[in-house]
């Protein structure tokens, strides 16, 4: 993993004194997640008042920021930034996988592509929930993380395409039938709603609010996790790296206090905004 070396893998000896830390996400991956969640919050925060424009809070919000036209402007701005981040990610994945021939991008234990182990892990996890079997040994990416990833990937394509079709309707009307332009409005709205409900409820709970991560899993912000967390949450990956003698290469420094504090403020703000938007969405949806 050449990325990990650039990402600040630190001095190995100093880890022994106060417990070891391991690199999980590179700087580029953390930056991509930061752009993803800030623009997603922006899109949700501007998309919801447009979707539920008749609701009281949407009208109050619109009057506070300069009208629905201003909200739409910020919605499009966030969409462009997110599109650029998405294109950068796709280019990065294909460059690493096809040009640099990096192993484990499209298939294998370090890939985001689902395989049979994910199906078995899902069944095993459901059995563990109800006490019918042991907890599955998760690897680098667990099945729910792959689902999150592909849900965003799919959402980017569907919501993005339908959004641009509405934005540049005269251009798209040159090759799409009229009904398709009506359909993209429904698709954009419903898929956007699904994304918001999924991220602000399921993703938040699965990743941050569940008892063994509560109140927040900091790894996506700091990039590193303690050895205990690594062993507990990703036992298969830990065992694989240990057996291959690659564990040392993943050692990292303990995250500095400023980074932890900054991450907590940013992360809690994101979760709080998300939960408020979730509450507003549910109240507006059930009043429709």
């Amino acid at each position: 993993m050449p990325d990990l070396e650039q990402a600040g893998v630190g001095s190995r000896d100093q880890n022994n004194a106060q417990g070891r830390y391991f690199m999980r996400f590179t700087r580029a991956q953390r930056a991509l997640h930061a752009v993803l969640f800030t623009t997603f919050l922006g899109l949700a925060g501007t998309g919801l008042p447009l979707r539920f424009s008749q609701s009281y809070w949407a009208r109050r919000f619109a009057s506070g920021v300069g009208g629905f036209g201003a909200i739409l402007f910020f919605h499009k701005f966030c969409a462009v930034v997110l599109t650029l981040a998405f294109l950068y990610h796709v280019k990065d994945v294909f460059t690493r996988g096809l040009i640099h021939r990096e192993k484990g991008i499209f298939w294998g234990s370090t890939s985001m592509v689902a395989d049979w182990k994910d199906v078995k892990d899902l069944i095993g996890h459901l059995r563990w929930f109800v006490g019918l079997g042991p907890k599955p040994q998760f690897g680098r990416y667990a099945y729910w993380e792959k689902f999150d990833y592909w849900a965003v990937f799919w959402g980017m394509i569907v919501i993005g395409f339908s959004g641009y079709a509405m934005w540049f309707a005269p251009f798209f009307a040159t090759f799409l039938p009229g009904w398709a332009l009506n359909a993209v409005l429904v698709i954009h709205s419903e898929e956007g709603l699904l994304a918001i409900l999924f991220i602000f409820s399921i993703h938040f709970v699965n990743t941050h609010l569940r008892p063994d991560s509560f109140p927040m899993d900091m790894v996506v912000f700091t990039g590193v996790e303690s050895e205990e967390e690594f062993k507990t949450k990703r036992p298969e990956e830990y065992a694989k790296l240990a057996s291959e003698g690659k564990l040392q290469a993943r050692l990292a420094e303990k995250p500095p206090l400023w980074l932890l504090n900054f991450s907590k403020v940013a992360g809690f703000a994101a979760i709080l905004i998300g939960l408020v938007l979730l509450a507003l969405t549910l109240s507006a949806y059930f009043r429709e």
């Binding site: 563990w128 929930f129 709603l193 699904l194 999924f198 409820s201 699965n206 569940r210």
Partner: protein
């Protein structure tokens, strides 16, 4: 579209609730075992 929305959310809602219950159960059991050791 509604079917997709409802089925995805229903499955993951059940998944998440079961996970929460199981994790909490394990946490309580672990604490009780640790308390027993210290006693």
């Amino acid at each position: 579209m509604n079917l997709l929305l409802i089925s995805v959310l229903t499955f993951f809602l059940i998944h998440t609730v079961l996970w929460l219950i199981r994790s909490r159960y394990d946490q309580i059991r672990k604490r009780a075992a640790e308390g027993g050791k210290h006693a």
